[in-house]
Symmetry: C2
Subunit: 584 residues, 2 copies
């Protein structure tokens, strides 16, 4: 037994107890005649005291050698602390040490192992095992575990069964790029790592499992944007004999439960919005509805004058910045520069000051009178003291630009209250989206998503118009989950593959097993998947997922700690019947 207690559990009631503790030296203060050491483990910090009068001389000497992050074991007596620290759970006591063993020495850590560290991202990742000792990272991992347990217990109580689906599956060119795994036993052939267990969970529904879930790793070999990981974790769910309403209800239940259990936040029924409405009101299919600044479309009230920029635009749209009339001219110019940056790409921006006296002052006063501007204020719900910002251009681009501006302003004006949790269902997504590059339709969700049944007859004649029984769960401007009712009819699935440019042979080669399965009694079914890394980060009140992943990879997909990926032996390649074909 290395210890009788953890470093987080001793209280005043333990005074006079003989204890054995083990842990890391957080810091030590040596006053010569007295040495205090903060001993740390996962559970907390306990103060140790060595003093000339009461501590054996050899132990006192040894204590003087202790450096930061040394691993030690001490025996001693719990005594009352003279100057209590009420901010510490163990702040009423300290340990008068009678014996000290150095279990392992430690080199000076390359960054301070403190809540606020001096280590940059790169060095922290290289020595991630030291980074994990810091409370912010440690607590994030403990938090992740807690959320996972709550999810599992909730779904299990609701009758869901966690089923492990395989990791070595088959590559399909549809969707994102697969990671592949050469097979040694099947020459020239490859497995793929799953981008999601999609087809397997559907087969489990065909197999009668009725309610499935899995917290599962998924893999995508994409060029990594910030805060994307090549391997990520999903809460993957599927139910049979359900309509969209059943799924929304069950997973609204799960999310409400998590918000309550984890955050103590009670949320009533989640609002719903169609995709079209979300795009129209927020220019975004995952709107943050914790604050206003809803879009006001201005075509009707801005395209009747000689301002050609607006007249030629597909969409003229504005938002009212609350209290924005206090912005100086210089500040507004900076905002205009901000939207004109290539990342946003607006050509320019019109603004209207809503004065306290009810008059308006705009950057386009040459073209628009007070009545016009009053109409704009009306459309954007601007009040006296606000600032109206207006963009124009093609619909999709302009919406995206104004949405980015809206989020940026909300951030600056601190309208995104981290204590508020505002979930939202976005429903009725389009089934398909047109891809200019390949000149064909792509599945907006995936090829297994069911068209709205009442639109099935338009599938070939007017595919772009079709809505899907597909839904996203949005929380504070982040998509935390998305799913759909699936196709369960072989013929509809075949028509869908055809629409997506698969020949019947390709469809059969890649998804023949699923289409076969649909012929043997497939029930209506649907599901949802939550991005678990993101969900945990949001519930944990963080913007970035990295601290909620024990060993994340960097933006080149590298694990800098273990230095992977790495070259492999020539013999390994030969066994796999492969040769390198390097371009460099």
């Amino acid at each position: 037994m290395y210890r009788s207690h953890s470093c987080g559990e001793l209280r005043a009631s333990h005074i006079n107890t003989e204890v054995t503790l083990a842990g890391w030296v957080q810091k030590s203060r040596d006053k010569g005649f007295m040495i205090w050491v903060d001993l740390r483990d996962r559970y907390g910090i306990t103060q140790l005291i060595f003093d000339e009068e009461r501590t054996p001389k050899d132990i006192m000497e040894k204590a003087k050698e202790l450096g930061r992050e040394f691993v030690i074991q001490v025996k001693g007596q719990v005594i009352e602390r003279e100057s209590k620290n009420l901010n510490m759970a163990t702040g009423h006591i300290e340990i008068l040490v009678s014996d000290l063993t150095i279990l392992n020495e430690a080199l000076l850590p390359p960054f301070t192992v403190e809540d606020a560290t001096d280590g940059g991202e790169d060095i922290r990742m290289k020595y991630r095992y030291l980074d994990i000792r810091r409370n912010p990272v440690k607590d994030s991992l403990l938090f992740r575990h807690r959320v996972a347990m709550e999810v599992r217990n909730y779904l299990s109580k609701e009758g869901f069964i966690e089923v492990e689906t395989p990791y070595l599956i088959k590559s399909t060119p549809e969707g994102a790029r697969d990671f592949v795994v050469p097979s040694r036993m099947n020459e020239g052939q490859f497995y793929a790592l799953p981008q999601s267990p999609q087809t397997f969970k559907q087969l489990l529904m065909v197999g009668g499992m009725d309610k499935y879930f899995q917290i599962v790793k998924c893999f995508r070999d994409e060029d990594l944007r910030a805060d994307r990981q090549p391997e990520f974790t999903q809460i993957d769910c599927e139910m049979a004999f359900v309509e969209q309403e059943d799924i929304l209800s069950v997973f609204e239940g799960l999310t409400r439960f998590l918000l309550k259990e984890i955050k103590g936040v009670e949320v009533d029924t989640f609002p719903r919005m169609t995709y079209d409405e979300a795009m129209c009101r927020y220019g975004n299919d995952k709107p943050d509805i914790r604050f206003g600044m809803e879009f006001g479309e201005l075509n009707a009230v801005a395209q009747h004058k000689d301002f050609n920029v607006f007249n030629q635009a597909e969409l003229v749209v504005g938002i009212a910045v609350p209290g924005g009339n206090t912005f100086t001219r210089k500040e507004i110019d900076k905002l205009i520069d901000w939207v004109k940056r290539p990342q946003i790409g607006a050509k320019g921006m019109v603004y209207v000051r809503c004065n306290e006296d009810g008059t308006y002052k705009s950057s386009v006063d040459k073209f628009y009178g007070q009545d016009d501007l009053a109409n704009w204020a009306n459309a954007t719900a601007a009040k006296a003291g606000d600032l109206i910002l207006v963009l124009s251009g093609s619909t999709n681009e302009t919406r995206a630009q104004l949405s980015a501006l809206r989020m940026e302003l909300a951030e600056r004006l601190e309208l995104r209250d981290p204590e508020v949790f505002a979930p939202l269902w976005v429903v009725d997504f389009p089934l398909l989206e047109w891809d200019e590059d390949t000149q064909r339709y792509h599945a907006m969700h995936h090829p297994f998503t069911s068209p709205k049944p009442e639109q099935l007859n338009e599938l070939e004649s007017n595919p772009g118009n079709i809505k899907a029984n597909a839904y996203d769960l949005v929380l504070n401007g982040n998509e935390i989950g998305g799913g759909s009712i699936r196709i369960h009819d072989r013929d509809v699935q075949a028509r869908m593959f055809d629409l997506l440019g698969f020949t019947p042979e390709e469809a059969k080669a890649q998804f023949g097993f699923l289409m076969d399965a649909f012929q043997y009694g497939a029930p209506p079914h649907g599901g949802i998947a939550f991005g678990f890394d993101r969900l945990v980060a949001i519930l944990g009140g963080q913007e970035t997922i990295r601290d909620f992943i024990a060993f994340p990879k960097n933006n080149s997909g590298r694990d800098v700690m273990i230095d992977a990926p790495a070259p492999i032996d020539e013999a390994q390649l030969q066994e796999l019947n492969l040769k390198l074909d390097l371009k460099l």
Copy 2:
């Protein structure tokens, strides 16, 4: 809402309720004027009744079309069943159907979807989604879920944190063969899929996580023996500041809890046996101790006569088969043939009949008298009526042969009672084993296992003699878990790598991160891993793991349902900087 109730929940108390059910047609009996249909879902079976007098004519017509495994929805009234079926939970009632919707038709299944199916292994795997509808498979998957939940909740309550370790890691030539994953973004480099999260869980201990667990997929690219899978699931655990005794105690607790919760079996303290003792008494490091037939070593009482076979043998060893004296000469000859098969490889076998009158009759009466044979009976604990079977040769081979014979006889004599659960700790494994092929030592457990501290000074001088703080948990003759106290000292780890034939450069290239970590304050730590597939199968009373895995692979590592692995596009290969180098 597709249904108001499941097919498993209606009882007499529901009589007269109007209900909606959905499910699969298990079978239908058409008497012309009356049709009964068994409707099945995950939760059970409910009998539907359609009759000429009370069912609308069109519904009656539709009911006649129903085939096996059709997916249907019915509305109707719960009525009392005339001939009740007390073997069915829903056997008191039936549904008088008023409306019927065919949700999906079904082709005739390629095998019967019944508890006892006519489908062979291959066809069942190809149509696994139909196989999963059968109770034996469905119940196995539900059972697996339940065991996983119990494990997670138990360990979580004990303070263990589930931490997800990465799947894309680095290949190491030590141990079994890795599956590798070419990296597109890091030209010419590869990830490997983990054979276990070993180094990561050790780094979590260095990182202060204190108690870690994970139910996690692991991967080994080995030639598959029966009942081995290229991907398999482990309950992986690690603890800091522990000695062997702490680990045994915690995981004995987990196992005892599972036996109690899942099987209702109470087991007191688990017995322990050293590796040496297990090999000596059972010829096996995972002995089934539910029955006797312990080995009796006979060198002392058999090597003093002129029987050269025994005199030249390193080991002469026997077992007493209880009641085996009833075996006919022909049966004994068959047993001799059995041990001489190449799979076992014995050269021959000597037997001694222990007659009821206290005399002995052996196949070597020419060499041994009654007193000699009485000594053999004494050494093997043979009683009157038993049969002593004796093998001889080199120690390791002879033990393995006799162990195989012991298990075979136990199987035939039904001594392996499936209702009895006999766990056993095997401890003090050797640190190393000598490999004749490579003429060097290999780690018996893995290179991170700690030698017994008191033997550290023999590490270079007498490596073959060193025992490790390594332990296996054995249940009914199966190794269900194994682990060790790890090395946490950089220098000891370096000596260990040296002993295993790593140059310092190789050790640094492959495990430098771990040796670095040991320099920054690594606590003493150790752990264990359970083979989850096997554990679940044993708890479920099955010999084979395949029905406890939703989508298993066959002995060539293929998923015959989705037909993976498969060739990939030339473009995919090019992106990965690879060329096929086929030998065929």
